[in-house]
Symmetry: C2
Subunit: 191 residues, 2 copies
């Protein structure tokens, strides 16, 4: 997606160690027009998977997932990382390593909003190693829901997440794909 | 706002102790169409305050703030509760008591995205005691930015937050106002 690629080249920063800083338009400050355009693009790509719900992880998945949900007319659930007092005692919980936090984080979804038979489209900001997305997949599968598609704004293809998701046999779409981040460069791949 | 009031009556739950559960459409599962309508309504109410940026707090402020930002054509910044590795060492940080967590939480904004002279519209999900919103006000003021308006989806008027914000002399708008939550009731006030 040209608009996102250009924005990353203009405002993104390669901080080294595979960390791409996109805090000025996705992760801390958010450009709502850009997120809306990304949501519209995901809606086009996933219009045929018959999803019934979108699933993401707080915090930075919320903006792209919400905009995708708006364009597909679906509810969105974001997995919580701490259990709020409004959630029932019995929950779906899994652990996933956090790249940017350097530790395991919990991903928690209430059984009230993830049910047997639902068709889940996962939307997140990054597809890197795929560990957060795999956590969301486990939550959905535990609930007896089916995964029907996976979308990420930015794929870091050199981290191998796509291969790890292949066994699911569902479409995996990223709006831009970064092939390498040697030195302070950001090199996009095909597509 | 009629649509939000009806939704709270239909799907909200008074859990006691002043806790209103809105997890099925705002705080865990999100209804994007409803959030879009709320964002449009905030945009109408604040169109004349000449805001340059919207400020909210992660996590549950993100959805209404993002939709308001979309309709006003402004960037939105969400204060983080933990400092990510992409943020500079020098930040704006304040502490605010969390109603639903029962402890103090940090609210952190990078000086990169909150600057002297900006005109800040604060949008959050709840206005209860006003402590989170006051934390956001302190962050903006420390940065040398002006507060030009405050909006909340749901005001719990019996918790006194509005009075505590009066000294700011800016418009405070809530889309629905709850007057009391005795027993398991939810009683709306005027407006």
């Amino acid at each position: 997606m040209k608009e996102l690629k250009e924005r990353i080249l203009r405002d993104g920063k390669n901080l080294g160690g595979g960390i791409l800083k996109v805090d000025s338009f996705i992760n801390h400050q958010v450009d709502p027009g850009l997120m809306d355009a990304c949501g519209r693009e995901f809606a086009v790509r996933f219009v045929n998977v018959s999803a019934t719900k979108i699933l993401t992880a707080e915090i930075s998945g919320i903006a792209p997932a919400l905009m995708t949900a708006l364009h597909l007319g679906l509810p969105v659930v974001y997995a919580r990382k701490t259990k709020p007092i409004t959630m029932p005692d019995q929950v779906f919980l899994t652990l996933a390593p956090s790249h940017t936090k350097g530790r395991m984080v919990e991903l928690i979804v209430s059984p009230e909003y993830l049910a047997h038979g639902e068709r889940i489209l996962i939307i997140d900001d990054f597809l890197a190693t795929g560990s957060t997305i795999h956590g969301l997949v486990r939550l959905a599968q535990t609930a007896g829901a089916a995964i029907v598609g996976i979308g990420a704004l930015i794929e870091k293809s050199f981290e191998g997440g796509r291969a790890a998701l292949k066994e699911l046999g569902v479409p995996v779409e990223s709006l831009v794909s970064i092939q390498s981040m040697e030195g302070d460069s950001i090199v996009f791949g095909e597509g």
